[in-house]
């Protein structure tokens, strides 16, 4: 009887403790996100992965974390600027692009970033000029045929 009571008591305490590890797990996930930006390369890889999976806000946070810890990381700033365009902040993007020098990046990387911000040109609507109206030439009036009957 006493053993059963002790066991029940321990089970109850274990249930109370189960909530804490769940919270610790979620914070551990944040640890992993933070560690990824301790260096620029892994941080950029994480940001690109987040963009690829549609987590644009997560990518923005990652790139800003890189900017805080590594303010000379130009490629992260370039990717951040292009991401602002995806979030419909072209003015913010333009301001950041203005601080970046094209010559510091490879052509592919620079063009890719700028392409994200390029607004597609409005579709050209072809206007077909109507052909000049020709005065209608009415078909010759058809007279009823007279039967010429030979008498």
């Amino acid at each position: 009887m006493g053993t059963r009571r002790i066991a029940n008591c321990l089970l109850a305490i274990a249930a109370c403790l189960s909530a804490a590890p769940a919270q610790a797990d979620e914070a551990s996930e944040l640890d992993a996100l933070s560690r990824a930006t301790d260096a620029v390369g892994p941080g950029l890889a994480l940001a690109r992965s987040q963009i690829g999976s549609g987590d644009l806000m997560g990518a923005l946070a990652t790139l800003e974390r890189i900017a805080i810890q590594h303010p000379t990381a130009g490629e992260a700033q370039l990717l951040h600027a292009s991401l602002l365009c995806r979030l419909d902040d072209p003015s913010g993007a333009a301001r950041e692009f203005a601080h970046l020098k094209k010559r510091d990046f490879s052509r592919i990387v620079w063009d890719e970033a700028n392409a994200t911000c390029a607004r597609p040109e409005p579709a050209k609507i072809e206007t077909v000029k109507p052909e000049p109206v020709q005065p209608e030439t009415a078909p010759p009036a058809t007279r009823p045929r007279r039967r010429i009957e030979s008498w």
């Binding site: 644009l56 979030l87 902040d89």
Partner: protein, 302 residues
């Protein structure tokens, strides 16, 4: 060896009590996030703690912890729901409320007492309603990116915007400039289009387009705006939120001038300009334009 009941009970208590104590302590200080990026002087103080201590990288931040940054310092707080606070130099922030259900959504309540911040909601969809309080305004947030500046820098930036004239009385301790950054209508990624409400002095204004801003000059004053922030204003706010980038790009904020005047503002519109002025103590022009209740020195464009 068969243990007696007494020995079993003692062993169980010896194991359980310390663990239960730890669990109780942890639940009492609910962890809401971590310090995901720390630059220079960042300190933290728990609930009821009198003194701040240095914050480590990836330190757990609990509900009601106060975090602050020193000069040329920055912090990124990453919260459990993936919301983010980027905090610039000389800033102080507290997470007052944190409700997080991965299935249903959540909400955050925070107070920024001074400095500059940038908040990004971590969740998509309409289930995320958060609020940020400054000393003079409450910002209602709905799935968005919002920036704010509190203090003398807010006055300096607001003055440079053409919509804020010299007729507005400002409090250098509490003046707040709030800016909506997005996402805009054309955002990708099926994100909620950002919108915020700025409530102060019994009035609320809504900002629902990127780069719309509102300015609250003093306690009890109504928001001025919405107006569209200029590129120069945007640059200055960014330099305050990210001082290391501001320094690199040459846009770092200068030390703001000291404002000499005091204010004696109450909630009543139109009376702000006539209260408590003494010669030499206000930056108001001698010829004061006539104030109407609907025009509290404002010349809002939007």
């Amino acid at each position: 060896m068969v243990m007696s009941n007494f020995a079993l009970r003692s062993l169980a208590l010896g194991i359980a009590l310390p663990l239960a104590g730890a669990a109780l302590a942890q639940s009492a200080s609910q962890v809401v996030g971590i310090t995901a990026a720390v630059v220079n002087q960042v300190s933290i103080a728990g609930t009821g703690a009198a003194q701040f201590r240095r914050a480590a990288l990836r330190e757990r931040v609990a509900l009601a912890d106060r975090v602050q940054t020193g000069q040329r310092s920055q912090l990124q707080l990453l919260l459990l729901d993936k919301s983010v606070f980027n905090i610039g130099a000389n800033s102080r922030l507290t997470i007052d409320r944190f409700v997080y259900d991965p299935a249903r959504g959540g909400s955050i309540g925070a107070t920024v007492a001074k400095g500059a911040f940038r908040f990004m909601s971590g969740r998509r969809g309409d289930g995320n309603n958060s609020s940020i309080r400054t000393p003079v305004a409450t910002i209602g947030i709905r799935g968005t990116i919002v920036e704010g500046v509190i203090g003398a820098e807010a006055i300096e930036i607001a003055r440079a915007e053409r919509v804020i004239g010299r007729n507005v009385r400002n409090d250098p301790e509490t003046a707040s400039l709030i800016l909506l950054r997005g996402p805009g209508v054309l955002t990708q990624g099926s994100l909620t289009v950002g919108s915020i409400s700025v409530e102060a002095g019994g009035t609320s204004v809504t900002l629902d387009r990127p780069l719309q801003a509102a300015y609250v000059p003093a306690p009890g004053a109504r928001p001025i705006g919405p107006f569209t922030i200029s590129p120069q204003g945007l640059e200055r706010i960014n330099a305050l939120v990210f001082p290391s980038l501001g320094q690199r790009w040459g846009t770092a904020a200068r030390t703001p001038p000291k404002f000499r005047f005091q204010i004696g503002v109450s909630g009543s519109a139109g009376s702000d300009q006539q209260r408590g002025d003494r010669p030499g103590q206000s930056d108001m022009p001698r010829d004061q334009p006539k104030q109407t209740p609907s025009n509290n020195g404002q010349t809002g464009r939007d």
